[in-house]
């Protein structure tokens, strides 16, 4: 059952192809839902890079996301073209993560977590004092900007971020990050410059979160700064990653798929109460299912494999030399 390399590429190609032709056959509201999904995937991957791979808990993702959305809006209104605005959003996230990362990542985990939490809180207060209510883009922008183009901006950014994560996970950099997460002292002793790796990962993560904010602005055109900076935008990506599987490439994708659908249903029927249920589910996931969906799927696959091979009465020779507990990418 385990796919060979060629089969895997074929599968990815088919999925990307189906998604790329999406706007041709999808209803408009489904296209919108997909853009929301893309935003969540990018945000979740951003959190996953620093939280899942490097093991540093970022509790202020909302600040990065929100400032990306805000900067895109301001620059776009200012007259720059949309690509520059998106790039500026990413750069804002990057600068913000440099500000938080350099002092706190030299130390152990909790300072980083509290530093990011502090930034998020300060940003939320600052923004709610500066901007009240909604910021609307002029209708000229809406006229020249179709749903399809927004969809493709989201799709391409998501593909790029997934590819980046894939390359990082396989590179020396990714191995260093995982070593830092598993045992920082041991990694340091073996000659890994853990501080440098953590800061680099956090810069990339901040860039991705900023981009996600930019795409949000593109899609909605109107932004509500107080809402973009609220804790919800930290909590949802965090929950996606923890449910999907921390430190895996596909985990956040599965998590986003499930959460976007559930949120779409729940937030209409339950209102604010759905966050209480989400919180409880999140706590249970962290406590009792630390591997998440990605881990569950790979276990299920193994069981199925065993089931099929025993049914045929053949024992497949195992060429797989991976260790039992090793993370699959």
């Amino acid at each position: 059952m385990r796919c060979s390399r060629g089969k895997k590429f074929l599968l990815i190609g088919i999925v990307v192809g189906i998604l790329a032709l999406g706007p041709l056959y999808m209803r408009t509201d489904i296209v919108g839902l997909f853009i929301v999904l893309f935003i969540h995937i990018i945000l979740a991957q951003s959190w996953n890079l620093i939280g899942g791979y490097a093991g540093q808990i970022n509790l202020g993702l909302a600040a990065f996301f929100g400032s990306g959305a805000l900067v895109t809006h301001l620059i776009w209104i200012g007259g720059a073209n949309s690509f520059m605005a998106l790039l500026a959003a990413g750069m804002t996230g990057l600068v913000l993560s440099a500000v938080v990362g350099f002092p706190t990542l030299r130390l152990r985990g909790i300072y980083f977590s509290m530093g990011t939490l502090a930034i998020a809180m300060t940003a939320e207060i600052l923004v709610s004092n500066l901007f009240s209510g909604a910021l609307r883009a002029p209708s000229i922008f809406a006229a020249g900007f179709t749903a399809e183009s927004r969809y493709y901006v989201g799709l391409i950014s998501t593909m790029i971020s997934l590819l980046t994560m894939y390359l990082i996970a396989r590179s020396r950099f990714g191995v260093g990050l995982r070593a830092t997460r598993d045992d920082e002292d041991a990694a340091r002793v073996t000659g890994v410059n853990t501080t440098k790796l953590k800061i680099e990962a956090f810069l990339i993560s901040g860039f991705m979160a900023g981009i996600a904010g930019g795409i949000f602005t593109y899609y909605y055109l109107t932004i509500w700064p107080e809402f973009q900076f609220s804790t919800l935008w930290t909590f949802v990506p965090l929950m996606i990653v923890c449910i999907g599987g921390m430190g895996t490439l596909m985990g956040p994708v599965y998590g986003s798929l499930i959460l976007v659908i559930i949120e779409h249903i729940f937030s209409r029927t339950l209102g604010a109460a759905h966050l209480i249920i989400f919180g409880i589910v999140f706590i249970i996931a962290v406590l009792y299912f630390p591997g998440g969906i990605a881990d569950g799927l790979s276990k299920a696959q193994k069981i199925l494999e065993g089931f099929f091979s025993s049914k045929k009465g053949l024992t497949k020779p195992t060429h797989d030399t991976r260790m039992a507990g090793e993370t699959r990418i």
Partner: protein, 295 residues
């Protein structure tokens, strides 16, 4: 005169800061868990006092033992359900998972509080709320003084409990080295349970003072968490004895600093202090020798 007034009011609010922080310091010092939901528990204490006042017309100082009892039970449940299952994880994962779980708890508690009490600020107004007297030209409110007195009594009681009783010594021993302590026959799980419940109780007391002097909102827990974290960092992570002094220091420097740069930037002073401490004295200002690295 203005400076003296600022220092005095700084000391009064500093005592409250110390009280708000000591629960966070206790949980971190003893268990090495960082309880992000500490601020939310402070708010819950405030709301408990508010409810007893609004529904049963009990004076907050009289209903305090009842609030403490409620918060103690809440702490027991909190440890049993959320923190005890964490003990199966490895050392590094424990801290990370405690961060994640308590962050999830914030979502649950804050949103429940919004449903129960709406997001408007709630506060208790008693007959003596605005009452104040002047001494040497310095204005002092009775509530401020009462709160400071209460904070000092509580901290002294905690100090005596930790140093004079057998159980308190066990808590201190675990804070220093839990493995050695467990080899000496101390029941780790039970000690964790009680110290967690104690920490939540102290958070509740701070909440009562906050609902008396200021007001509580469902999302207000974050700012009290940050204050508690700044105080704990200033005192040195895991150093229980410096916390009260660090609270006073933060209170005074905020009060005096806001005289200089304006009260709207009061929060910035706290963050500046946090940043400077993290950069130059990550082990806290009361630690004499720096260890190789900070945890």
């Amino acid at each position: 005169m203005i400076v003296t007034q600022a220092i005095i009011s700084g000391l009064i609010i500093g005592a409250l800061y110390g009280l708000a922080a000591i629960g966070l310091g206790l949980v971190f010092g003893v268990m090495k868990y960082l309880n992000i939901a500490h601020g939310s528990f402070i708010m819950l204490g405030g709301y408990a006092s508010y409810w007893l006042f609004a529904l049963l017309h009990l004076d907050p100082f009289i209903s305090l033992p009842l609030v403490m009892l409620i918060m103690f039970i809440m702490g027991l449940i909190f440890y049993r359900i959320l923190l005890a299952p964490l003990s199966k994880f490895s050392e590094d994962l424990k801290v990370n998972n405690s961060l994640l779980i308590t962050f999830g708890l914030i979502m649950v508690v804050d949103n429940s509080a919004t449903l129960l009490w709406t997001s408007w600020p709630k506060s208790i107004t008693t007959l003596y709320s605005g009452a104040a007297f002047n001494i040497f030209g310095i204005r002092l409110t009775y509530i401020g003084l009462g709160g400071m007195g209460l904070a000092i009594v509580i901290i002294l009681a905690l100090h005596l409990f930790l140093t004079k009783t057998y159980f308190g010594k066990a808590i201190t021993a675990i804070a220093q080295d839990w493995e050695a302590a467990s080899l000496m026959g101390i029941n780790i799980d039970y000690t964790y349970l009680i110290s967690c419940a104690l920490a939540i109780t102290l958070a509740g007391v701070a909440g009562v003072l906050i609902v008396l002097c200021y007001s509580v909102t469902p999302s207000g827990g974050f700012s009290w968490l940050m204050i508690a974290f700044i105080v704990v960092t200033l005192a040195g992570m895991g150093n229980l004895y410096g916390i009260f002094a660090a609270g006073l220091l933060l209170g005074v420097s905020q009060a005096v600093g806001s005289l200089l740069i304006g009260s709207s930037y009061q929060g910035v002073i706290g963050f500046a202090i946090l940043l400077l401490t993290v950069l130059f004295r990550p082990d806290g200002i009361f630690t004499r020798k720096r260890k190789g690295y900070a945890r």
